[in-house]
Amino acid sequence: MSLIEVENLTVTFRVKGRAVQAVQDVSLSVDLRESYGLVGESGSGKSTILRAICGMAPVTAGTIRIDGETLPTPRGRAFSRQVQMVFQDPYASLHPRHTIDRTLSEPLAIHGLPGSDAKVVKALEDVGLPTSFRFRYPHQLSGGQRQRVAIARALMLEPSILLLDEPTSALDASVQAEVLNLLNRLREERGLTFLMVSHDLAVIDHMCDRVLVMQNGRAVEELSRDALASAQMTTDYARSLFDASADRMLAPARGA
């Protein structure tokens, strides 16, 4: 059952009078509880698709449906209870002048949900942060800790869909591992559906069931995880992406 359906999506930006098509005629569908990846290099349009789903990009053609219903413009309150997003840069996605407590309780305040005190404490525990961090400011936390707060914030409204825009690319390798593990655990526990963007094929392979390779705004090839792992891609671009990524891996057979 498809939870997210994107059909022939085109997103056009006006830059200095010229029209730039960041996304051209892309279609995809994500099933309930699936983890779907979007991979590509810069300019591929992968992050733009996420923003288009959120209503933050100028869609000029195509439809987006969540749970069978076309999304209203503007998206509205109900949308924010269904879909939330984790942004790429942990240094930019938390308000620098708000304490963590305020950042986490704000979604509840906006929707008039009670019990924010207890919910904030539980949210911190769920993402593995000590509750003593509650009244810290973002600059008093490390990158990995901030990203955990961003994840906690995204889950405050208990959405069923989580959009992840390169959630670990700004983090150190060891911290990335922890955050990816956290995301997987939360997905298991809460039955979430993930739509995840990354430039890193290894991360996508670890986290996602299916992946769409994109280039210059177009969809190039969709691969299942098994196809990706066994290098069964049919297009040249997907293969070159795979080679460039795999090349950096220390293959187990090398040099030992």
Binding site: E41, S42, G143, D172, A173, S174, V175, Q176, A177, E178, L180, N181, N184, R185, H199, L201, A202, V203, D205, H206, M207, L228, A229, S230, S240, L241, F242, A244, S245, A246, D247, R248, M249, L250, G255, A256
Partner: protein, 284 residues
């Protein structure tokens, strides 16, 4: 081809920043020597790897303080060198390539002017000859139409192109040592390979020493001869690149193992076990 005398020798390098909440020790006692080879310095953020590179070039300003028992480049004492002597060294004999050409190239000068600036002011070479050298340098980094690039501004270039211009700029004066600080981190994966191979060939052909600073352990191991692994300002392991899989230090092993692999297991990634003594010592 090992020189008896190393190109760069650093003993007990320390970099400290004075802040209003007390001194922050970015680099705590780093020692290494470098011949005409490729040395990788790997670490996460806060490990002090960038500060080490900058300290060699004496690019750290107050409130930062650089101290070392000795820091000798090709027989010249870098700690005792005056500002004028350092200026003569920088660019001429020691070059630095930084991460993002958007920020390291001057946005208001075109590429040609930036490439020839050093030649014309420092070496007093005439305009025509300087331009010829600049074009030769651009061709050496595999830029296909160097004439067009000479007249372009940095924001008109793609990331990979900008980084190649940066490398060309640093290699014109034919330095003996190149310090590359995350030179490919801001580039797309497919472009990274290309830029690295250019760097690879140039370093090899000119017999330069290279310090390659990165957070990417696997990349560095593929590209360098030796690797220094840093954590919180100290070197925790020094190892030949080929022996990386047999690394002994728990931090290095942790770094190697915690990355996801294509086709790897789906279970939780092994995290870094920071309970060892080496992590505790780090606050001294």
């Amino acid at each position: 081809m090992t020189d008896a005398k190393p190109l760069l020798q650093v003993e007990n390098l320390r970099v400290t920043f004075e802040t209003e909440t007390g001194p922050v020790k970015a680099v705590r006692g780093v020692s290494f020597s470098l011949g005409r080879e490729r040395l990788g310095i790997v670490g996460e953020s806060g490990s002090g790897k960038t500060m080490t590179g900058r300290a060699v070039l004496r690019l750290i300003r107050p409130p930062g303080r650089v101290e070392a028992d000795s820091m000798i480049f090709d027989g010249q004492d870098l700690m005792a060198a005056s500002d004028r002597e350092m200026r003569a060294l920088r660019g001429q004999r020691i070059g630095m390539v930084m991460q993002d050409p958007k920020y390291s190239l001057n946005p208001v000068m075109n590429v040609g002017d930036q490439l020839t600036e050093g030649l014309r002011q420092r070496d007093r070479i005439g305009r025509v000859e300087a331009r010829a050298k600049a074009i030769a340098a651009l061709e050496a980094v595999h830029i296909r139409d160097p004439e067009r690039v000479m007249d372009a501004f940095p924001h008109e270039l793609s990331g990979g192109m900008g980084q190649r211009v940066m490398i060309a700029m640093m290699l014109i004066p034919e330095p003996d040592l190149l310090i590359a600080d995350e030179p490919t981190s801001a580039l797309d994966v497919t472009v990274q390979a290309e830029v690295l191979s250019i760097l690879d060939n140039l370093v090899r052909d000119r017999g330069m020493g290279l310090i390659f600073i990165s957070h990417d352990l696997r990349l560095v191991s593929r590209f360098c001869d030796r690797v220094l692994v840093m954590y919180k300002g100290q070197v925790v392991e020094e190892i030949a690149a080929g022996d990386l899989l047999a690394a002994k230090h728990p931090y290095t092993q942790g770094l190697l193992n915690c990355l996801p692999r294509i086709g790897g297991a789906r279970g939780p990634l092994p995290g870094l076990d920071r309970s060892g003594d080496w992590a505790k010592d780090a606050t001294a």
